[in-house]
Symmetry: C2
Subunit: 127 residues, 2 copies
């Protein structure tokens, strides 16, 4: 019964990941790198912030992360935490720009969708 959501998710996954990383500004403390997140953390953050409306599957997330890394938008640091390996992802400068670009692209797209889906038909008369 996963309601809708996943259907529209197509094409927005990269944007979500990039934006999440972009808005993690050095959580203070001893962490030197800004915007570090690991895969599992990303899925949890998305689930929590959207109140379960959007859920990222691992089968979709990890390939995207790997691809973004290949494209030079992310860099990884593997650390051992509690005896387990954890892989942190953070944005490169290029990735940061890509994040901003993607978000603004998506805003434009949403605006266009609004004119399609939420415009009453009578406004279509342009004279």
């Amino acid at each position: 019964m996963d309601t809708s959501s996943n259907e529209f998710l197509r094409g927005t996954l990269k944007t979500i990941v990039l934006k999440l990383l972009a808005e993690q500004p050095a959580t203070g403390e001893a962490k030197s790198r800004p915007g570090r997140m690991y895969g599992y953390e990303i899925t949890q953050a998305v689930k929590e912030r959207t109140k379960g409306e959007i859920t990222l599957s691992f089968g979709a997330l990890y390939p995207v992360l790997h691809k973004l890394e290949q494209e030079g938008l992310l860099i990884t640091e593997t650390e051992e935490v509690d005896g387990r390996l954890r892989k942190y992802y953070s944005l490169t400068p290029t990735g940061n720009k890509a994040a901003e670009q993607k978000v603004s692209d998506f805003e434009r797209f949403m605006e266009a969708m609004r004119t399609l889906l939420l415009t009453p038909p009578q406004l279509a008369t342009g004279h």
Copy 2:
């Protein structure tokens, strides 16, 4: 160099088509069926109303139209106009409900995306 848009279009095509047909309420005149549109007309309408921001390709549109027809959401009427065959699509009652459902699903999705992409990271204590 296709400017963004198309990237996010994934998964929204059906919604767009259903909504366009749903909001065409018997354009008056002699037309008996409400919401009749043909494929080419749909692409033009989307292009015009989004000022070129969103462009549907025929290779994507026609398969979607055929599938929606198979699913019983659309019915077709083929007529000859100016010596050419033209295929009109209109919503069935089921298709009408599907249109409303899809649009409201998409609104929920957009709301979720807003909380992800447009939420200021003020929680991160900007000391």
